[in-house]
């Protein structure tokens, strides 16, 4: 059953309808096979790009859709409910364009943003390192100035779309001044010296590639630095506030899919002579699942509306990410329970939803880090 949505405009309602029909025809029929064969669906991203779904939250003057986060996130949720890895990829792409949009000069934006938002290119961002995940200020990858260029050396771990992307937003150290010594660069995928290690062998999101990107003296023109030297970490963290909203929406989409699968099964499956949904013990589990999905949606939409209104939303973004991904973990785990033994097999998608959701409690800041962000904000008063 599709989620009930209250869209702010006619065109955003039409946009949701378009997303649902693309999800039904281009995503749902292919997800199971791609997850089984670990096939990265590059062509699917091109389809979304051509329809204009990869650039919705950016202004029309740069080729974006000019849509508020309230709308963009609901489209993202619909995509993720059909195919989680594509939802994650869509969010990562939006995040990889964020540094240029927010920290780039007018000239930089005019030069690169239209192509990045044009739907043909796919982005990635490189913040984490093997020893610097929750604490990115501990990063060691260096960018050393050499005339009109920077020379980047190091390795960025866990890059979603690593090796498959067309451009990388890269955070690298330009001085030893901790979190204030990091700068942000826009690096083209075909830069000499930039290679991807073998992809990680993950628990879920098999059709999304995650790889360490190795920078072996990669030369990047100084004009590709976004913002001032030393501004890289604030740029990355500002992007993460928005990225976390994306992950909250993605998790809600997967949870919705799990709820739908569980309800459909519980109405058909019989035990003790009636459909299992008529046993109160199970029906209340389903009711709790529905409450978890709908409250997650309300939570991320509230943070989105704050953002759209130009108000601070960092704490609410962390609340949304924490709530939506923890709720989704519970909902997808319970969906397996609702299907009983069948839920534990790969004949049904619910075990996949459960595996896919786990990482959402980990990336874009673990849920421990979200609590850190929230509690620090509370302490500041």
């Amino acid at each position: 059953m599709p989620a009930v949505r209250l869209m702010p405009t006619q065109e955003s309602a039409d946009l949701i309808e378009l997303t649902r029909s693309i999800a039904d025809k281009e995503l749902r029929p292919h997800v199971a096979a791609a997850e089984r064969s670990h096939a990265f669906p590059r062509e699917t991203f091109a389809t979304l790009g051509r329809a204009g779904l990869l650039s919705l939250p950016y202004p029309e003057e740069y080729g974006g859709g000019g849509q508020p986060y309230e709308v963009y996130l609901q489209v993202l949720e619909e995509i993720a409910s059909a195919w989680a890895a594509v939802g994650v990829g869509t969010s990562v792409h939006a995040l990889s364009c964020f540094g240029l949009f927010h920290a780039g000069t007018a000239e930089q934006k005019e030069r690169w943003l239209p192509d990045m938002l044009g739907g043909e290119l796919l982005g990635a961002y490189c913040l984490s390192e093997a020893h610097a995940g929750s604490d990115p200020a501990a990063m060691r990858t260096r960018a050393v100035r050499d005339g009109g260029e920077y020379v980047i050396t190091g390795a960025k771990a866990w890059t979603t779309h690593g090796g498959a992307a067309d451009f990388y937003k890269v955070m690298a150290r330009t001085s030893d001044d901790g979190g204030r010594g990091i700068s942000c660069f826009l690096v083209p995928a075909d830069s000499p010296g930039l290679t991807a290690d073998a992809p990680e062998d993950k628990m879920g999101l098999m059709s999304s590639v995650t790889a360490t990107m190795v920078f072996d003296s990669v030369r990047v023109p100084a004009e590709r630095r976004l913002g001032a030297e030393g501004q890289g970490l604030p740029i990355a963290l500002a992007g993460l506030d928005s990225g976390r909203l994306g992950i909250a929406a993605v998790a809600t989409g997967v949870a919705q899919a799990a709820l739908d699968a569980a309800v459909a099964y519980a109405r058909e499956r019989e035990s003790f002579g009636r459909p299992v949904i008529e046993h109160q013990g199970l029906a209340f589990l389903l009711a709790d699942m529905a409450a978890a999905v709908e409250s997650a949606r309300a939570t991320y939409l509230f943070a989105a509306r704050l953002r759209d209104a130009g108000r601070p939303f960092s704490r609410q973004a962390s609340v949304a990410k924490l709530t939506a991904t923890d709720n989704a973990m519970r909902v997808t785990t319970d969906a397996v329970q609702v299907l009983g033994g069948a839920g534990y097999t790969k004949d049904f998608p619910v075990e996949r939803y459960m595996r896919e959701t786990k990482v959402m409690q980990i990336f874009e800041g673990t849920n421990q880090i979200q609590r850190l962000v929230i509690s620090r904000d509370l302490a500041r008063g």
């Binding site: 006619q10 065109e11 039409d14 946009l15 309808e17 378009l18 029909s21 693309i22 389809t47 051509r50 329809a51 204009g52 779904l53 919705l56 859709g65």
Partner: protein
């Protein structure tokens, strides 16, 4: 050649995925379920857009239907059509194929056309006769069940789907063409198309605007009527064939009995 004036007829139909019901008058309930563009009409729109792109031309959407058909008109515009005409009049409710063709013919005469494209049938009534009736009323060639359409100069050539292959049919423009789903792969609207659709002109015409006699359309003008109807019997359990060495021949026997093979 001057640019082609292509008109694509689009009907809003109830979603086939949900249970459809009849009104007490025996006509289809069009109010409660979600309305969608009749699927074959999406192929007609795609073909119209392709012809306009290849030869230069303008695509007008023509839809007859209640107020909520405006949603389907907007979707057709978001796929790329240039403008639309919505024939909207309470007097049209209950029109059968004959009455529908009268209203559409009047609208087409009013807006003008070189090429009219329709889906070969709608998923609700499935009579499949409107394209032919329309061509007769307009006095132009009808080229129906097209699996390909080729426009050249002042003519149009189609591959007409037949039971055992196809027939090549040629006619002069203006003409009416109906298409089958083999013909193409309808495009998705784009978000830009959705935004652009808001600004495209949609003209609403009433029966009075078209000078159509109210007695010729609607339930009053219908030449056919529903005498009686019954709900489809619930699905039975079906036959389970247990394979004890003769499963194949049992299945074949079952199919042969029903003349499937």
């Amino acid at each position: 050649m001057t640019t082609l004036n292509i008109v694509v007829c689009v009907k809003q139909v109830p979603d086939t995925a949900v249970e459809r019901t009849l009104t007490p008058e025996g006509t289809l309930d069009r109010e409660s379920p979600d309305g969608l563009i009749n699927e074959l009409d999406e192929y007609a729109i795609e073909e119209g857009l392709k012809i306009a792109e290849a030869h230069g031309g303008e695509v007008t959407i023509l839809s007859m239907g209640p107020a909520k058909a405006a949603d389907s008109v907007r979707k057709a515009l978001s796929m790329g059509a240039d403008k639309a005409v919505h024939v909207l009049d309470d007097g049209l409710a209950g029109s059968d194929a004959l009455a529908t063709s009268a209203a559409l013919a009047a609208a087409l005469t009013r807006v003008g056309f070189d090429l009219v494209i329709l889906g070969s049938e709608s998923t609700d009534a499935r009579t499949g006769v409107v394209p032919a009736m329309l061509a007769e009323r307009l006095g132009v060639p009808q080229l129906t069940l097209a699996a390909t359409v080729e426009v050249s100069g002042a003519g149009v050539t189609i591959h007409r789907l037949t039971e055992d292959g196809y027939a090549v049919v040629t006619g002069s423009l203006p003409a009416v063409v109906s298409v089958v789903e083999k013909i193409n792969e309808p495009r998705y609207p784009t978000f830009k198309g959705i935004m652009a659709a808001k600004k495209k002109p949609v003209r609403t015409l009433t029966l009075a605007d078209l000078a159509v006699d109210t007695g010729a359309v609607g339930l009053a003008g219908a030449a056919t009527g529903i005498a009686d109807w019954a709900a489809r019997p619930p699905r039975t359990a079906g036959v389970v064939v247990k394979d004890e060495g003769d499963g194949g021949s049992q299945v074949a026997g079952f199919l042969a009995e029903r003349k499937f093979i």
